[in-house]
């Protein structure tokens, strides 16, 4: 599904290398988790995947089902099935949440050569999905993320994901800022979307989320690289001992971190 090879990324404006050769392969239907210290480049990876300005790819590639993502505009990547749940969802005053979602869904359908969804069908779809995430109709009517609490914003990201039904979902710290119940809701939302044709890349600092969304593979990212890959027990190890053991082991093998 997702193939990232030797990805090198620097900031466009300054001479700062952030990703230093990321290799990552996520198969169809798999759930991968990425953990790693603050500033290691996790969000940068997610932004570069979705095509945000300000970064320059100096080497490597990103492919989704064989299609070269780096050649595409952000909206083309979305239409190709990529979705990023933002670490910091953006507030957009003046644009209603519903209008935004319907416009987005129809834009994607149009790009894929499908018919636009009718207003009635859309209403039915969004009501269903919102209900599952305990998002009230009042929140749907408000402008996108404006006046939403931190947890509401995160749930709103998952609502968008549930409505847009992407095949590659990247969740950047969707669990941070959520209370225990909200985390359960979000995890249930994600689990409900798990299917053979849909993959997830879950960026998180806490093993707790991974109790709910059980990953197939866990990666540790440090200083712009994936430094260790393992099963779900790797997350437990991080939770108990932090990153120092892993990073030290890495140092002993001669890697510069």
């Amino acid at each position: 599904m997702l193939e990232i090879k030797n990805l090198h990324v620097k900031l466009e404006e300054e001479d700062k290398q952030i990703l230093k050769g990321v290799d990552l392969s996520v198969g169809a239907g798999e759930v991968h988790a990425i953990m790693g210290p603050n500033g290691s480049g996790k969000s940068t990876l997610s932004y570069v995947m979705s095509g945000r300005d300000g970064y320059e790819v100096t080497d490597g590639s990103i492919a989704l089902d064989g299609a070269d993502m780096l050649e595409m505009e952000p909206e083309e990547r979305a239409a190709a099935g990529l979705f990023l749940a933002f670490q910091y969802p953006v507030e957009i005053p003046g644009v209603g949440n519903m209008t935004f979602l319907r416009t987005a869904l129809n834009a994607q359908r149009k790009a894929r050569g499908q018919e636009e969804i009718s207003a009635a069908d859309f209403l039915k779809l969004i009501r269903e999905r919102a209900k599952e995430l305990k998002i009230g109709s009042e929140m749907l009517k408000r402008p996108v993320n404006v006046g939403f609490s931190g947890g509401e914003k995160k749930r709103n990201e998952i609502l968008q994901m549930a409505v847009l039904e992407p095949k590659m979902c990247v969740l950047d710290e969707t669990d941070s800022g959520l209370d225990v119940d909200a985390m359960k809701l979000v995890a249930d939302g994600v689990n409900a979307l798990r299917s053979e044709g849909r993959s997830f890349l879950v960026i998180t600092h806490y093993q707790r989320l991974l109790n709910h969304i059980v990953p197939d593979v866990v990666h540790i990212m440090a200083n712009g690289k994936i430094v260790k890959t393992g099963g779900k027990e790797l997350a437990m190890e991080v939770e108990e001992n932090g990153y120092s053991d892993i990073l030290d082991a890495q140092n002993e093998t001669g890697e510069v971190v």
Partner: protein, 429 residues
Amino acid sequence: MALPQAKQDTTEARLAALTRPEGAAWASTARDAALARVREMGLPHRRDEYWKYTRPDGLTAPEPAPAALFSGDEQPLFSEIDRVRLVFVDGVFDPDRSDDPTLAGVEIERLQDASRADIHWAKEVYGVLEARGQVPVQRPLAALNTAFATDGVLIRATGKAERPVSLIYLHESETSDAILHHVVKVEPGAELTLLENGPAAARFNKVLEVEVADGAAFHHVRAQGRDHERQAVTHTFARLGRESTFKSFTMTANGVMTRNESVIELTGDDATAHVAGACMGDGDFHHDDTVFVTHDAVNCESRQVFKKVLRNGATGVFQGKILVKPEAQRTDGYQISQSLLLDEDSQFYAKPELEIYADDVQCSHGSTSGAIDETALFYLRSRGLPESEAQDLLVLAFLAEAIEEIDDPAIAEDIRVRLEAWLARRRKD
């Protein structure tokens, strides 16, 4: 005090090109007084304090610059609204193309006819609000209008109007120079909605005087027409009585020269006045909103909401003032003017002013100028919206606060559709 020679020359040259209409004594008296005001003030000059950002030359020249006619076949604005249409062609009322005025359920008369009557209610308003509005800021082009307006309507509502009165300004001659003067009186407890749309003429000078009596409500929505080369100067003078409401919204999406002045006086307690504008300008578009709100009564609310989207070197101007007189306690005044600059060539000049003499007052004002929010743009695109569509959505969101000032949902939707169409046309360029 003698006027500077250049100003006097400009004024006399303009006056020489005009003919004063005939009328009964009350009308002639009003016109003579207005003409005297024009001569005393002189027509605006670039160096005048309130003409610093807008060149008055085209508006004061003896003859108008020609303006090409727009030959689009789009459905006219407000087509779906049940209203009484009064059509003016290049500034001349055309009864054949208009609806039966009695259908509005209010008194409607043509200025020409009313000005020949010996006694008329309009005597208390015509030129009166304009004259009051000359202090402390001079508005000579409005006085010129009072003296020389050849046509216009006088509307008097004594109850709730059955349907909106819709003034439609067609532009059919490339060199027309139109001067229209309308007077509206909304009697105690009455309600009226006035719609205006169309480019009107190559050059258009329009005055609207509105007296809103105690407990009355006046709603005003206008759109200033497609013809890009047209020039317009408009003045809206309003005087508000106790517990009355005045709401005015203007959309402008074309025009090389537009100067819209609003002069509003809250003279009765608990009155509400809202003035709003949404404008979108491209290229040599120049648009100026000059607003003066005077609070002269207790517990009144006023709002000014002006939004401008500018691209390709377009220019926007906002000069807005809230004056709170000493006795106007518990005043709630709000003023915001914002521009969204879609490129670095466009410019926005803002001059927000507050002058407050009462102590129990809540007044806020703000003016901003900025580009499209790149983070928001990326967020929308990451959800699948093409860049142009995402940008349009943000532009409309920017204008939303002004459009929200329109109370009638169908009219607001009509305006929104127009703004979307304007954006869509530019997308194809």
